[in-house]
């Protein structure tokens, strides 16, 4: 991976004024994927996910809560896609 596509965790923590321990706990829980085993770099593609999790942390939601919410949101997204697919399929029979 090109170094321009990697971000330093420490810089993100400074920018967002967030404690590095929290980001490390997200990386250790697998909620954000690091670019290398030392957890010092993350791919830029993981930034948006990380920022969303930082937002949840700022709402006083703990790691366990963030983990549960992340899984539920993933399920909501899948269900939403399924619903749209079924709606589209249903339209084939409507007004037939």
């Amino acid at each position: 991976m090109k170094s321009s596509n990697l971000l330093m965790v420490s810089e993100i923590c400074i920018y967002h004024n967030i404690e590095p321990d929290f980001v490390n706990s997200l990386l250790n829980a697998g909620l954000v994927k690091p670019a290398e085993p030392e957890n010092t770099l993350i791919p830029v593609t993981e930034l948006q996910k990380l920022e969303k999790l930082i937002n949840l942390h700022r709402l006083d939601i703990n790691l366990a809560g963030i983990e549960a919410i992340t899984h539920l949101l993933e399920r909501v997204e899948i269900l939403h896609e399924d619903l749209q697919t079924l709606r589209n399929r249903l339209s084939r029979y409507e007004g037939a």
Partner: protein
């Protein structure tokens, strides 16, 4: 311009302490935060209201001014005009937001007219607050089934900015694509949100769609159905000739391979077009024709 009861927004009374305000804001933000309510415009609006209420009530100076003039803010505005110009004048962009794409710290749409009139732009007082990622914006774009046939570029104007997007062929009705960083500006220096464009593809008069396959019912005259022949069928890429087998039954489906829609993000693959024959029984028969049918029925 309507007065906004910020205490009501945060479900508090006027005696609320700073801690009460903080707790109420966090509690309601957990309920309405856009990250927890994807694709929910009502929750997004509510979250914006919460931010505005929190911006005022968690800042001692703003809260004092709000409490002092409250519903009579217009009167108070005249008195404090000079003061406001010095203290709360709309500030140009500052560090954080600008470094994430040069958006204004707050556009007019982020805070209510009431807030802007009373306090000017955002961020006038107080120290550094929590930087929230900007609001994700949702837009809807209508396409025809014909538009879905080819990958094409389109320029959209979102909040006064032109954005050129590529719409991949085969996109589905209701499908959403994300344009990163083109959402609302970050709050208190946070990064900009994303723009989500949802595609609305209304039902086509001719073709029904299921994924990349298309379906159409076409009328077939009785004689061609019985004896076989050739008909012309419409497809999205033009008219094609279709051979009809002799003794074709009503409701028979035929597949025109590759005459459906392109498969999303696989430009060289296409779905199929399914034709269902609707055999038309002849009407207004002449005497001669009736006789011939009678003969047929006896044979």
């Amino acid at each position: 311009m309507a007065f906004i009861d910020y205490y009501k927004v945060l479900e508090l009374n006027k005696t609320a302490s700073d801690k009460d305000i903080k707790n109420a804001y966090r509690k309601l933000a957990r309920k309405y935060h856009p990250d927890l309510n994807p694709n929910d415009a009502t929750a997004n609006k509510k979250f914006q209201e919460l931010n505005e209420a929190n911006e005022v009530l968690s800042d001692p100076e703003k809260r004092k001014k709000y409490d002092k003039y409250g519903e009579n803010w217009q009167h108070g505005e005249a008195q404090e005009q000079q003061n406001r110009q010095q203290q709360y004048s709309r500030q140009s962009t500052t560090g954080g937001a600008d470094s994430f794409g040069g958006a204004d710290a707050f556009s007019g749409g982020d805070f209510s007219d009431f807030f802007q009139s009373m306090f000017g732009g955002a961020g006038g007082g107080g120290g550094r607050r929590t930087g929230y990622r900007g609001q994700d914006l949702n837009a809807e774009l209508q396409l025809s089934l014909q538009d879905v046939m080819q990958t094409h570029k389109q320029t959209l104007t979102i909040n006064g900015k032109n954005i050129r997007i590529t719409i991949p062929a085969g996109i589905a009705n209701g499908q959403t694509i994300k344009i990163a960083g083109h959402g609302g500006a970050g709050i208190n220096g946070g990064p900009a949100g994303d723009l989500y464009i949802k595609f609305n593809i209304p039902a086509d008069a001719r073709f029904k769609r299921d994924g990349s396959n298309l379906y159409n019912t076409i009328k077939l005259d009785l004689y061609t159905a019985v004896l076989g022949g050739e008909i012309t069928a419409e497809t999205l890429s033009g008219k094609v000739k279709v051979k009809v087998k002799p003794e074709t039954q009503n409701g028979t489906k035929v597949k025109l391979k590759g005459k459906g829609l392109p498969v999303y993000k696989k430009d060289t693959e296409f779905g199929d077009l399914y034709l269902t024959y609707d055999i038309q029984v002849p009407v207004n028969l002449s005497e001669k024709q009736k006789q011939l049918f009678e003969e047929l029925s006896k044979s």
